[in-house]
Symmetry: C2
Subunit: 374 residues, 2 copies
C-alpha cells in the first residue's frame, strides 16, 4: 500500500510503499479515507517535535484521520462503520498503563505514551491502518467527509473542559472569549465557540491584511477580528473588553503571559501552543499580582482522550457546512501530496512566529490528503 512518510528534519513528505498491516488480536483493519494536515505535522517534518519509531529513520505522518472499518476481526465493530482513530498509544512493548486504564492517555507524561504520526509510532497517512477498537471512535457516514476535523476539535474540547473545570469552584458565567491565532485550529475553535452559545461575544486575533478569506470567515461567524499589529494582546481590554476565556493557539510564547493582562477578573487562559525556548522580560510582579487579586488562572493542555473525540463528533455535527467548506481549502490525492503540505519547506522560518504554519500571504487554511474516496 501507499503511505506518506518523512525523515524528520531532513526532507519533505514523500509517498512510500509499505505492506498492508496485519491486525493483531483485538485490532480492526481500517481503510483510511482522509487525513488532515496541521502545524504539528510541520513541526515533525522540520524535526523540532516528535520523531520516528526506534529503529526507523522515517515516520509515516498523520494524526487527524477518518476511515472505514474494512475487517473488524474480533473487535465487535461492523465492517463499513466510519471511525476516527485517537492518537496516543501505550509505548512499544507495553500493553497499557494507569493513564490508558483510566481512559486518560492525554494526561500521561513522556515515556508513558507514543503518538501515532507524531512521536514513536507510525501515523495514519496510509491506505490501511490497524488499531484496537478502544482507540476507534465511530462517526456517521454523512459526517465522515469532515471526520479528519474531529481530532483538532477534540483538542479544543479538552482545553475547554479543563478551562471550565478551573472555574468550577464558583458560578462562572463567561460572556467574552478570545481566540489567539487564525490558523486552522484557531478558526475551528472560533467556529465552535460561535456555534455553541457558550459565549456571547467571540474575538479572534491574527495579523492578516484585509481583504482576507480568514477575516471573512471570522466575521461571517459573527466574531470580531482583532489585528495584533494594531492591538497587542495586553491592550485588548481597553480597545475591546476584558476576556473571560482566552484560547491560545499561536505557539507565540509572549501571548501566554500577555493573556494574563487581557483576562477579565476570574477569567482563564487555556494554552495550547508549543513554543521553542525564548527568553524575554516580563513585569512578573504585576502579572503575579493580577493572577492573585483577580482570581485568574492559566491552564496548559495537550492532546485529548476518547471522551473529547466523542464530544468533538457532536460538535462537528453542529458546525455549519459553509464554515467547514471555507476552512478546508484543499483535499488532495496521493498524486499531489506537495499541495497538501504547502508550507513543508518554508516552515522553519516562521517558528515562534504568531502565524506559525500559515504564512500571511497564503490563503491555505486547512488541507487533507485523500487516500480512498467514499
Amino acid at each position: 500500500m501507499k503511505a506518506i512518510a518523512v525523515q524528520p528534519g531532513a526532507g519533505v513528505p514523500d509517498v512510500i510503499k509499505r505492506p498492508v498491516p496485519e491486525p493483531a488480536p483485538g485490532e480492526a483493519l481500517v481503510r483510511i479515507h482522509r487525513v488532515g494536515v496541521d502545524g504539528t505535522d510541520y513541526e515533525v517534518i522540520e524535526g523540532s517535535h516528535g520523531g520516528a519509531p526506534e529503529g526507523d529513520d522515517r515516520l509515516v505522518l498523520g494524526h487527524e484521520a477518518v476511515g472505514v472499518v474494512d475487517d473488524p476481526t474480533d473487535t465487535g465493530l461492523e465492517a463499513g462503520q466510519y471511525v476516527v482513530p485517537t492518537v496516543r498509544r501505550p509505548p512499544p512493548g507495553t500493553e497499557t498503563n494507569e493513564y490508558f486504564e483510566h481512559g486518560e492517555p492525554d494526561m500521561a507524561p513522556e515515556g508513558a505514551y507514543v503518538e501515532r504520526g507524531i512521536v514513536g509510532a507510525h501515523g495514519f497517512m496510509a491506505e490501511y491502518i490497524t488499531s484496537p477498537a478502544e482507540f476507534l471512535v465511530p462517526i456517521s457516514a454523512d459526517l465522515a467527509p469532515w471526520g479528519f476535523l474531529v481530532e483538532p476539535l477534540s483538542i479544543t474540547e479538552k482545553a475547554l473542559e479543563h478551562a471550565r473545570a478551573s472555574r468550577s469552584a464558583f458560578g462562572w458565567q463567561p460572556d467574552a472569549a478570545l481566540v489567539l491565532g487564525t490558523g486552522s485550529l484557531g478558526l475551528l475553535t472560533a467556529a465552535m465557540f460561535s456555534a455553541a452559545d457558550d459565549f456571547e461575544r467571540v474575538y479572534c486575533l491574527g495579523r492578516k491584511d484585509r481583504p482576507h478569506p480568514v477575516i471573512d470567515i471570522i466575521e461571517r461567524l459573527g466574531a470580531t477580528y482583532i489585528d495584533s499589529r494594531e492591538t497587542p494582546v495586553a491592550e485588548i481590554p481597553a480597545a475591546y473588553e476584558p476576556m473571560d476565556l482566552i484560547y491560545e493557539a499561536t505557539g507565540y510564547a509572549k501571548h501566554a503571559f500577555e493573556s494574563i493582562d487581557a483576562l477579565a477578573p476570574n477569567g482563564v487562559a487555556a494554552l495550547l501552543g508549543v513554543p521553542s525556548d525564548w527568553t524575554f522580560e516580563i513585569d512578573g510582579g504585576r502579572l503575579h499580582r493580577e493572577l492573585v487579586l483577580h482570581n485568574k488562572a492559566v491552564v496548559g493542555t495537550v492532546n485529548s482522550n476518547r471522551g473529547h473525540f466523542e464530544a468533538a463528533v457532536d460538535t462537528l455535527a453542529d458546525l455549519p457546512d459553509w464554515v467547514l467548506e471555507a476552512i478546508v481549502t484543499g483535499i488532495y490525492g496521493l498524486e499531489s501530496v506537495d499541495r497538501a503540505f504547502p508550507n513543508a519547506t518554508a516552515h522553519a522560518a516562521t517558528a515562534d512566529d504568531e502565524s506559525a504554519g500559515t504564512p500571511d500571504d497564503d490563503t491555505t487554511i486547512k488541507t487533507a490528503v485523500e487516500f480512498t474516496a467514499i
Copy 2:
C-alpha cells in the same frame, strides 16, 4: 471603646478612642476577643495595599478576628455565641450585589466590595464591632481562643478548593505538596496539609538558618524543610521530587514562574502573594511549553467566602494544639500593641523579599491582640 488604628503609610498602629458602634437592623453587636496580625496588616500600615474609608485618614486595623455575640438584636444569633466575622462587605451606599447574593464576595472585582480592616472599611481591632449575621460564622467556645486563625485558614481552604477544581477534569491523585514561605500562613498551610491526609509528602521552603523554631515546627509536622538558598525552586524536582501542588505564600514574584518548573506533570500552582511591580527575564518559551506539554495549571486566588470560613473552623478543630501553640508566638493586650506588631517599622525594607513580614533573625511567627479575655 478602644480600637487600634493606623494612618496608612504614615505611622505605626496606635490605640484610639471610638464610640461603641450601634447595630443597624439585621446586625449583631459583637464583643471582640482576639484579632490576629498578618502580612496584609503590614502592607496596610506601610501604605502599599488597601486604605482608609473615604473621608477618614485613619483605618481601624484587623481582619482576623474572633468575638462573642453581645447583643444579637433581631439576627437570630444567641448572646454568648462565639463568631468569626468574614472580611468583605458591599461598598458603602450599597446593600448587596451579584457576588454577595451568590455567596461569592471573594470573586468580586475591585469596586464591588470593601474589606474590613484592609480597604475602605474599618476592621475588627476594637472592643466592639457590628455585623450582619450572614457575615458571622459560629465557632465553638473551646476553639474560640484560636478563632483568629480561621480567617487565614479560610484563605488556604479557598486556594485548595480552586487548585483541586482546576484538576477536576481528570483523576488527579496528588502525593507531594510544596508550601513556598515559612510565614504564619505558610506554616498554617503546612500544618493543614500535614494533618489532612490530602498529601503523602509535604515540603516547606524558606531561608532560615538552623536551629530555628520554624524549622522545628516543619519537621515536627513530618514535613521537609527546603532552604531556598541551597535549593532554588526550579531545582526542587531534581533535589527532592516534582510537586503535584505548589502553594505560594511568599509574594516573591519569581516564585510564581519558577513554580511551573517545579511542578510534576498535571500539577497546579496556587498563587496567593501580592507582589509589587518587578520586571525580570524568564524563559517564557520553555515555561509556556512546560505548561502545555505537561498539562500544568497556575491559579491565582484571593480572599475567601463563608463556605471557606466554615471549612476552616473544621480544619482548625483537627490541628494539634502543639502546632497552634508553636505558631502563635504572642498574644498581647492593648497596653503592649507595639509587641503585637514587631515589624511595623522594619517592614518596608523587606517588601518583595522572600521572607516579607518575617525577618530572618526574628522568631516571631504569629501574634494577636486580645481585647477581652474569655
